[in-house]
């Protein structure tokens, strides 16, 4: 019996598409621009255009639109709560009433925009994670943050930490699995009782796991030092990041698209009812 299954590379979907092959810096910067753009332009009609962008991204990343849309599922609950709160607690022209709660026109518009905005925020961020391998993501972050290392921000240490964390996820799953089995073979019961009882029964798993993690960390630190690692020292790269023409074009397109949505909101969509 295996308790911990699956070796996860996060949401990454390996592939060979124009978007997969973009420089991670380009993708990270574009995503941040899009997240900002979502806050700048989020009237209900804007989401037609944001949806159009998703369709384009789906086409160029060879990831099905269904997979992309499903990536928002983890925050669905949060979105529902946000929509309900905004729907009933926004003052304005009353549309209809459910018991003591009034639904206003402003509330309906606002709730829709807020819900969609949250959803698109998550989906755009997921788009980045689905098309960027964790390694190149951490490389990209390191390079983006490297200017801040002059003021003491540990950019390369941060990237190294991410690399190691990713490397140890499967190992820790294996170790947890091993400890679980060892405790079960000695009569531990993880599957009966209420929530609190079950949570308590995990203590004999967590303590050995923590001890193990610290030992691992110590040994790994020694091994890294033995291989000439010096924290904060400048390191070379096996696969250095290369910014290409396509990256410039991609980021220019994203910025242009955001400008277009903002423009449309202020001109075209203003004429529409709401």
């Amino acid at each position: 019996m295996r308790f911990m299954n699956g070796i996860s590379l996060g949401q990454f979907i390996p592939g060979d598409s124009p978007i997969h092959n973009l420089d991670p810096r380009c993708k990270i910067a574009s995503t941040f621009a899009l997240l900002a753009g979502l806050f700048l332009a989020s009237t209900p009609y804007d989401f037609i255009l944001w949806g159009g962008l998703l369709a384009l991204l789906s086409h160029f990343s060879k990831i099905s639109i269904g997979t992309i849309l499903r990536s928002g599922r983890p925050v669905l609950f949060l979105i529902v709560i946000t929509v309900i709160l905004n729907l009933f607690w926004t003052p304005g022209h009353e549309l209809f009433r459910i018991g003591p709660l009034a639904v206003t026109r402003e509330g309906a518009v606002f709730a829709f925009s807020m819900g969609m905005r949250l959803y698109f925020l998550v989906v755009f961020a997921a788009m980045l994670m689905m098309t960027t391998s964790p390694m190149s993501f951490s490389d990209g972050l390191e390079r983006l943050f490297s200017p801040f290392s002059k003021i003491g921000f540990p950019a390369s240490e941060m990237a190294m930490m991410m690399t190691i964390a990713l490397r140890f996820i499967p190992t820790l799953f294996e170790e947890t699995d091993r400890i679980l089995k060892a405790q079960i073979s000695r009569g531990a019961d993880f599957e009966s009782g209420g929530l609190i009882k079950r949570a308590k029964s995990f203590i004999p798993v967590l303590i050995p796991l923590f001890v193990l993690v610290f030992q691992r960390a110590e040994n790994l630190a020694t091994a890294m030092e033995a291989r000439c690692y010096v924290p904060g020292a400048k390191r070379a790269r096996l696969n250095p990041l290369a910014w290409r023409m396509g990256d410039t074009l991609a980021i220019a397109f994203v910025l242009g698209y955001i400008a277009f949505v903002m423009f449309a909101e202020r001109t075209l969509f203003r004429a529409l009812p709401l």
């Binding site: 070796i7 590379l9 964790p134 390694m135 690399t163 190691i164 990713l166 490397r167 499967p170 190992t171 691992r216 040994n219 790994l220 020694t222 091994a223 890294m224 030092e225 033995a226 291989r227 000439c228 690692y229 010096v230 020292a233 400048k234 390191r235 070379a236 790269r237 096996l238 696969n239 250095p240």
Partner: protein
């Protein structure tokens, strides 16, 4: 190549020294097997060799560079590469080739040179076809060869192996030792810490450690001629066979007690 002079080391807070007055010279191209009971100071010795630990007494020199001088340490760690017992603890990256590149990346080498070293090291340990694989998907033996490749990518002159075969199955151990033999042929200096007498017998020289001191130093043939009994070491099968062959006059006296040498002598006679 490696010169350890009167080295003592006491771990911070420890009541007794882990190493005491150890003096040892390792020549270029020599394969030394370092054996001894647990806690005899073998692992401490390994860490002294590449400046992970600085002797609290005496001094250690690598290519005449003092390990206690901080400016030397980068060159020393590049020159003396260490492979540890548990491969899991030495693998840094999730992708095989990126892990091998870790050392050269730390040295700040140019991109093409890193690529060349990674390819060479993977070729040497026989993992070239696994370069894009996840390091977690390898078997134990493959992981340890990956750790070896990571050490080799530093282009070291000395390889210190701290019980690097102890967690491998017989097949994995065989593969690992085959790698070492071909490295040795190409002039690599090897210091191998081991509990296995059948590995020690393959070396050029055996050094016995006991309670932080090196108490015996000599050729495997001399060691298994009787010296080994002083420290409860077991006689490996190779040596038993060797003794039988020697008694019946099948192999000449000067033959080293390794399988290869005995086979060579038998085929000649």
């Amino acid at each position: 190549m490696l010169s350890v002079r009167g080295v003592g080391y006491t771990y911070p807070g420890a009541p007794a020294p882990a190493l005491n007055e150890v003096t040892l010279e390792v020549a270029r191209g020599e394969w030394t097997a370092l054996i001894g009971a647990n806690g005899s100071g073998k692992s401490t010795f390994a860490k002294i060799c590449n400046a992970l630990l600085i002797p609290t007494q005496g001094a250690c020199f690598v290519r005449a560079l003092d390990t206690s001088i901080e400016e030397n340490q980068r060159v020393i760690r590049q020159c003396v590469a260490l492979v540890f017992q548990n491969p899991e603890d030495q693998i840094v990256a999730s992708i095989v080739e990126e892990d091998v590149a870790f050392g050269p990346e730390n040295l700040g080498l140019p991109h093409a040179e890193i690529r060349r070293r990674v390819d060479d090291a993977l070729e040497l340990v026989g993992l070239a076809s696994y370069r894009r694989r996840g390091s977690y998907s390898l078997s134990g033996g493959q992981k340890q060869r990956l750790a070896l490749a990571g050490a080799l990518a530093l282009a070291p002159e000395v390889l210190v192996l701290d019980e690097s075969t102890s967690m491998l199955d017989p097949e994995g151990r065989e593969d690992f030792l085959a790698c070492l033999k071909s490295l040795k042929k190409n002039g690599m200096t090897i210091v191998q810490i081991t509990h296995r007498m059948e590995e020690a017998v393959e070396s050029d020289r055996i050094v016995v450690m006991s309670r932080g001191r090196n108490v015996w130093d000599g050729a495997p043939a001399a060691f298994f001629d009787g010296a080994y009994r002083n420290w409860d070491f077991e006689e490996p099968d190779e040596v038993a066979l060797y003794r039988a062959l020697l008694a019946d006059g099948f192999v000449p006296n000067a033959t080293p007690p390794t399988v290869d040498a005995m086979m060579g002598a038998l085929c000649l006679s």
